[in-house]
Symmetry: C2
Subunit: 328 residues, 2 copies
Amino acid sequence: MTILDVAAEANVSKSTVSLVLQGSNLIRDETADRVREAVRTLGYVYNRRAADLRSKSSKTIGVVINDLMNPFFAEVLVGLERKLVDAGYIVLMAHTSEDLTRQDKVLLTMREQHAAGIALCPALGTPALLTKTVKSWGIPLVVMVRTLGTGSYDFAGSNNTQGVQMATDHLIQHGHRRIGFLGGKSGPVLDQRLEGYRAALDKAGIAYDDSLVISAKPTRAGGYETMKSLLDLLPKVKAAVCYSDVVAFGALSALGEHGIHAGSDFALMGFDNVLDAEHSNPPLSTVDICPGELGEHAASILLARIERPDLSKQRYLASPKLVLRQSG
Amino acid sequence: MTILDVAAEANVSKSTVSLVLQGSNLIRDETADRVREAVRTLGYVYNRRAADLRSKSSKTIGVVINDLMNPFFAEVLVGLERKLVDAGYIVLMAHTSEDLTRQDKVLLTMREQHAAGIALCPALGTPALLTKTVKSWGIPLVVMVRTLGTGSYDFAGSNNTQGVQMATDHLIQHGHRRIGFLGGKSGPVLDQRLEGYRAALDKAGIAYDDSLVISAKPTRAGGYETMKSLLDLLPKVKAAVCYSDVVAFGALSALGEHGIHAGSDFALMGFDNVLDAEHSNPPLSTVDICPGELGEHAASILLARIERPDLSKQRYLASPKLVLRQSG
DNA sequence: CTGAAAGCGCTTACAG
DNA sequence: CTGAAAGCGCTTACAG
């Protein structure tokens, strides 16, 4: 079943069918209607891959995510996907679990599939060079969430330094002087967030104390472990800002286990404002960077780049907003 | 840059290049090496779409998910994707947000893209007929999580009735007679889980009480609302089984707000055993259906169907296991 | 406004 | 074991 069959049914040439299918206005309405009628009666299905091959275009976008288990990335992905589908694209999705080998593999696959563009949340340890590599393939790229060196590439992320500074400030304003920083693994995002933490401390004239900063994977388990360490080592600390909401959820669990009530006994701040933060136990005070919108912006940036490859470097940085709930 | 360039570089015909690229053993090792060398020096990239078009095959699988915001589905997706990628496929992902129109649209797109198979978690309200429709397209289909009528189609899900019965039994064995059922929206899964709830009650000689069953969206917000309703209307009820873990997390939040401690003051059971359940506040007692493995099984079923279209109907039903933590 | 012709980058019988 | 030829289902100048 091809356009040839449709052409025969509608008594036109296959060029005419093709033009109608593309919504061209070169064809008389009457003829176009006849073609569409034929499409319907035959149950013809457009073969987009053949069309893409011939026209050297593509309607698929590759998106590579490294941690879907984290609701933050799930929300980013949903926002991104929605926007892309609405623009007539379909997403080739791959999950790396922070595995660089896997990331290279799926990137190659997306290249073989002739993706029109790639939205990448790079796995930890990704070389900054990757942005140049993808560019050399001729595939538009938008990097998400984690910066990849200081080169020139399209990016959608958040102002991490400012955000964590706001969270830390808030704790300081409520009288806390000894404030923990929990979770996060080495990488650009941790560096930026830690910088915000230190900046807030500096501004308040509080000395930075290494033992208050406990690093771990940005997961619930990581948050749980870091909070337990903090409680064991420094039982007098009564406040902490977390690397992310997910880390904060784990910390909440550890707090609960110790019979400590977040909010009244201990002030805890998250980061991201994932949907779950509104209904955690207790509801989490956090820094809102609108994960879904971040994904939508990434999509817009990529789409713009595809349309006009010579655009100057695009950059979206979510402005953090403090959201105060019960935990801190 | 095509196989013609590679052929020229390696001094062979393009047929030979094609054969080497496909790993055929028809080509002498020496020649094959020369071709691979040419591929490397030229930086040639295989055009899989052209190959797929010509050979009428496809290495993409469509997967449609309706609620990625729910960690259960995220875990299913990750398991599914991992298995598919390892088998040499790449996934075309779409998110429906329970929107039937959107679901129809992405299904059509996947058809136009010539997906080799489709893994579908149907949106609520999907007509049972859909399995036949997709079959009529000639595309292998595996339905996930939610059954779609009683027809003959490949399916991967869990034994919901048995699972909820186990959770309810557990509560009954601990002396509870008035047990709430919280959350869940009308659909096959809710019916099955409710059936397990009633079966456990029946077996224990406890009358079913309509006012203890409170329905709502299967989200944290839904769980929060249903628990608040339960607490307001029936303050003497001290136990509940939830439609899902996510609902239970919301319920935990409402419990906390009322100063009620899950575990000692109120027994709460979840369903799914998502990763988060281990580190909620308090850690959630739940029914484990291994979401990730469910996704892997869905992949295996689909892959088997693609390999052998005439296989008899395949069905995977996760056997639920009780996981007792702090909440109940 | 519509048709005949060439071609996108591959694969696959078919010869040799 | 390797090459010449046809063709997958489309699009796109080019005529008319």
